[in-house]
C-alpha cells in the first residue's frame, strides 16, 4: 500500500460500515484526504480534533474519520462548533460544510462566526449545487447554470464566499480546489493553526448533480476546468481585483493575527477572577 493510502487508513474508522456515500469523481474525498494529511503533518492527537459537520454530502465526511465527530443539523454546524470551542478551548474544532449548508441556510451563522472570530476552522466544500437532495441550485450556483430547480437557468448571482467572509471579519480566508491538492494541504494546515476564525473554501466538483447538467462530459473535464479556470492570487497584479478573464483566484486572501473569541473571553475571566480574589 502506498504510504499516503496507509496514512489515510490510519485515520479512518474501521468499525464503520463502508462503502462511503461519495459518487465516482466527487471531490470531497480529496478534501478529506487533504484534511487528514494536514492533521497528521501538524502532529495533532486524534483526541484533540473535533470534526463538526453539517448536512449534505460533505456532512457525511465526519462519520468516516477517527476524530471526535459531530454530524449536526443543516446549516448550523458552526453554532455547535462555537459551543464546543467555548466549552473546551483546548480542542481543535474543524467545521465541514457544503455551499448550501454554509451560505444558504447557514449564512447567518457564518457571518457571525467570522465577526466574533471564534477559534474554529470552517471548510466550505463548494460543489455549486445541492448534491444529496438531487441537484437543486444553491446560493453558490453560477448565474445561468442549470439545476433541477433552475431548469431554464439560474437568475440569481452566486455568492462569493471569500469576499463575504472577508467582509464579515474572518481573520484567515483562503480558497483552494480539489484539483490543487498540494496547495490545499498547505491552506488547511495554516487554517487549523490560525488563532481565531479561519475559512477555507474548496471548489469540489460534483459530476453527478452539477457537471451532468452543465455541459461537463465527465468528472475529468471538471478537474481540467478547475485547472484552467483558476489563478493563484499571488500572481495577480492587483490581488484585490477579480481577473478580467473570469478566472477564479485561489490562495490566501487574508491572514491577520487576531486572538480568537475564546482567548479574549478566558483572558477577561482571568482578569475578573483575579480582581475578585
Amino acid at each position: 500500500m502506498a504510504d499516503v493510502t496507509q496514512l489515510i487508513h490510519d485515520y479512518l474508522r474501521h468499525n464503520k460500515k463502508f462503502p462511503h456515500v461519495f459518487c465516482a469523481g466527487c471531490g470531497h474525498g480529496i478534501v478529506l484526504g487533504s484534511l487528514i494529511r494536514s492533521v497528521h503533518a501538524l502532529g495533532l492527537p486524534k483526541d484533540d480534533v473535533v470534526l463538526v459537520a453539517g448536512i449534505g454530502c460533505s456532512g457525511r465526511m465526519a462519520v468516516y474519520v477517527d476524530f471526535n465527530t459531530v454530524h449536526t443539523t443543516h446549516g448550523r454546524a458552526l453554532t455547535f462548533a462555537t459551543g464546543i470551542k467555548m466549552a473546551n478551548p483546548r480542542l481543535k474544532v474543524i467545521c465541514v460544510m457544503g455551499d448550501g449548508d454554509a451560505m444558504s441556510i447557514g449564512g447567518n451563522h457564518l457571518i457571525h462566526a467570522a465577526r466574533r472570530n471564534i477559534g474554529v476552522t470552517a471548510l466550505i466544500l463548494n460543489n455549486q449545487i445541492y448534491g444529496m437532495t438531487g441537484g437543486q441550485c444553491s446560493s453558490a450556483t453560477p448565474q445561468g447554470d442549470i439545476s433541477m430547480t433552475t431548469p431554464f437557468g439560474s437568475l440569481e448571482k452566486a455568492f462569493d464566499i471569500v469576499d463575504m467572509c472577508k467582509a464579515a471579519g474572518a481573520s484567515y480566508v483562503a480558497r483552494g480546489t480539489s484539483f490543487h491538492a498540494i496547495q490545499l494541504d498547505r491552506l488547511i494546515s495554516s487554517a487549523i493553526m490560525h488563532p481565531g476564525f479561519s475559512v477555507v473554501e474548496v471548489f469540489s466538483p460534483c459530476p453527478t448533480q452539477y457537471g451532468r447538467k452543465n455541459k461537463f462530459r465527465n468528472a475529468v473535464d471538471m478537474y481540467k476546468w478547475l485547472k484552467s479556470n483558476t489563478v493563484k492570487v499571488e500572481t495577480l497584479k492587483d490581488p484585490t481585483q477579480k481577473p478580467d478573464d473570469g478566472r477564479i483566484p485561489i490562495g490566501v486572501f487574508r491572514d491577520v493575527e487576531e486572538p480568537g473569541l475564546e482567548e479574549r473571553y478566558f483572558e477577561l475571566q482571568r482578569k475578573l477572577m483575579g480582581q475578585n480574589r
Partner: protein, 382 residues
C-alpha cells in the same frame, strides 16, 4: 462534647422568577449559557452574563439567534458542560429543530421558555400558557421529553435544579415552562447551601475507549456519556444510529434505538411525574392547575372551603410525561374537575383524555393576556 455542626450558608434574596431560575441553574452546576434576548425571559440571560464570567470555566455567550443558541448549548453539553438557554415563544419556535436533535443524540440540557401571549409576536409583555403542547410536540418526529413548570419564585429555583438533575440523569433535554407572571413576580426566596441540595451529573464511561459503545442499552436505558475530548472518540449524529453511534437504517437497530429512547423516560414515570396536593383528601371538586394560575386556584380553594364547599387543588409541577395517576385519582373521587389555564384548553384536553368521560371537566380559559383571578375559579368551583 457538643457536635460541631457545619454552618449552612443559605442566602435570602428578593428576586424575580427569572433571577431565581439563574440562581437555580448556578446551584445545579450550570457552567454554560448561550442565548438571545427576548421578552419576557431576558433577565435570566442578564444574570448569567454577570455571573458566569466570575465562575471558574463559566462560559456565557450571546448568539445571533435562538437556533444558534440551541446549537451552542448542545455543543457545550456534548463537550461535558451542564448547559442551558432561555427564551420565549417565538424563540422557542426557532429552537424546535435542535430540541429534536438533542433528544436524538441524548444531550442533557435545560431550555427555559417563559410563555407570553401568542401566536406570532402576540403579547410580548403579557402572560400566557399557550406553549404547553408545543413544549411536548414542537419538534418533528416521535420523541419523549420532560416538561416542568413552576408557580412561584422559590419554585423557579427548585424546578431549575430539578430540570438539570433530570437532564443529567436521563440524558435528555428538559423544558421548564414559566409564564410571564411567575417570571416577573418579585418575592423573597431562600437560596439553599449547595451542600443541602442533591445535584446529579451524567454517568461517564468506565470502560476503555476501545470497548465503549456510546449508545448501548443498559438496565436504566441511559447510556454513559463521554465528553468530547476525553479520549473516547465517538460519533454524534442526528441520523438514527446504532449502538456505536453510526447511522443505520436496519429496521431492527432503528426499532431498538427508538424504543430505548422512550423506555428510558417511561420506566421512571414515578420519579419524573411531580405534583402537589392541597386539601384533596375529601374534595368533591378538584382544581387542576399549573404555573401562576395555581396560585389563584390556591386562594379560590381556600375561599371555597370557607363557604363550605369541599374543594381541593392539584398543582402540576411536571406537565409531561403527563402525571396521569395523580389526575386519574381525582376523576374517580370528585364530581367535578376544574382546569383553569391561560390558553384555549391545552392541558384540559390531557385531563379529559385521562378522565375518559368519568366525571365533569370544567374549563376556564383566558387568552386576553390577563391572569385568571381567584374569583373566576371560585365561581367555577361553587
Amino acid at each position: 462534647m457538643a457536635v460541631q455542626r457545619k454552618k449552612r450558608k443559605r442566602r435570602e434574596l428578593f428576586a424575580l422568577g427569572n433571577e431565581a431560575v439563574a440562581e437555580g441553574a448556578l446551584l445545579a452546576g450550570c457552567s454554560f449559557y448561550a442565548g438571545y434576548p427576548i421578552t419576557p425571559s431576558t433577565e435570566i440571560m442578564e444574570v448569567m452574563a454577570n455571573r458566569l464570567p466570575l465562575i471558574e470555566d463559566g462560559v456565557f455567550i450571546q448568539m445571533e439567534d435562538e437556533i444558534a443558541s440551541m446549537g451552542a448549548t448542545i455543543g457545550a453539553s456534548l463537550a461535558g458542560r451542564k448547559a442551558m438557554t432561555a427564551t420565549s415563544g417565538p424563540g422557542f419556535a426557532l429552537m424546535q429543530e435542535h430540541i429534536g436533535y438533542a433528544c436524538m443524540v441524548e444531550a442533557p440540557l435545560v431550555v427555559v421558555n417563559v410563555m407570553r401571549g401568542g401566536p406570532s409576536t402576540g403579547l410580548p409583555t403579557s402572560p400566557a400558557q399557550a406553549d404547553v403542547q408545543m413544549a411536548r410536540w414542537g419538534t418533528h418526529g416521535d420523541h419523549p421529553i420532560i416538561v416542568l413548570s413552576a408557580s412561584d419564585v422559590q419554585e423557579c429555583l427548585e424546578m431549575t435544579v430539578t430540570a438539570f438533575n433530570f437532564a443529567e440523569k436521563y440524558r435528555t433535554p428538559v423544558i421548564l415552562l414559566l409564564d410571564e407572571v411567575t417570571a416577573h413576580t418579585r418575592e423573597k426566596i431562600t437560596v439553599p447551601d449547595p451542600d443541602e441540595v442533591e445535584i446529579l451529573s451524567r454517568v461517564t464511561p468506565t470502560v476503555p475507549p476501545e470497548w465503549f459503545k456510546p449508545y448501548a442499552d443498559t438496565a436504566r436505558g441511559v447510556p454513559a456519556m463521554a465528553p468530547i475530548g476525553s479520549g473516547y472518540r465517538t460519533h454524534v449524529t442526528g441520523l438514527t444510529h446504532d449502538v456505536m453511534g453510526y447511522p443505520t437504517q436496519r429496521p431492527d437497530e432503528v426499532k431498538d434505538a427508538m424504543l430505548r429512547l422512550f423506555r428510558k423516560i417511561d420506566q421512571y414515570y414515578g420519579d419524573i411525574q411531580m405534583s402537589d396536593e392541597y386539601m384533596l383528601d375529601d374534595a368533591e371538586v378538584a382544581v387542576v392547575a399549573y404555573g401562576s394560575v395555581a396560585r389563584s386556584a390556591h386562594l379560590a380553594v381556600e375561599q371555597a372551603r370557607e363557604r363550605g364547599a369541599k374543594a381541593g387543588l392539584l398543582t402540576l409541577k411536571t406537565l409531561f410525561p403527563f402525571p396521569r395517576p395523580a389526575v386519574e385519582k381525582l376523576t374517580h373521587r370528585c364530581h367535578t374537575v376544574v382546569v383553569p389555564e391561560m390558553n384555549m384548553g391545552q392541558m384540559s384536553r390531557e385531563v379529559k383524555r385521562v378522565n375518559n368521560g368519568r366525571t365533569k371537566v370544567r374549563t376556564i380559559n383566558r387568552v386576553d393576556g390577563q391572569i385568571i383571578t381567584p374569583s373566576e375559579i371560585l365561581k367555577a368551583i361553587l
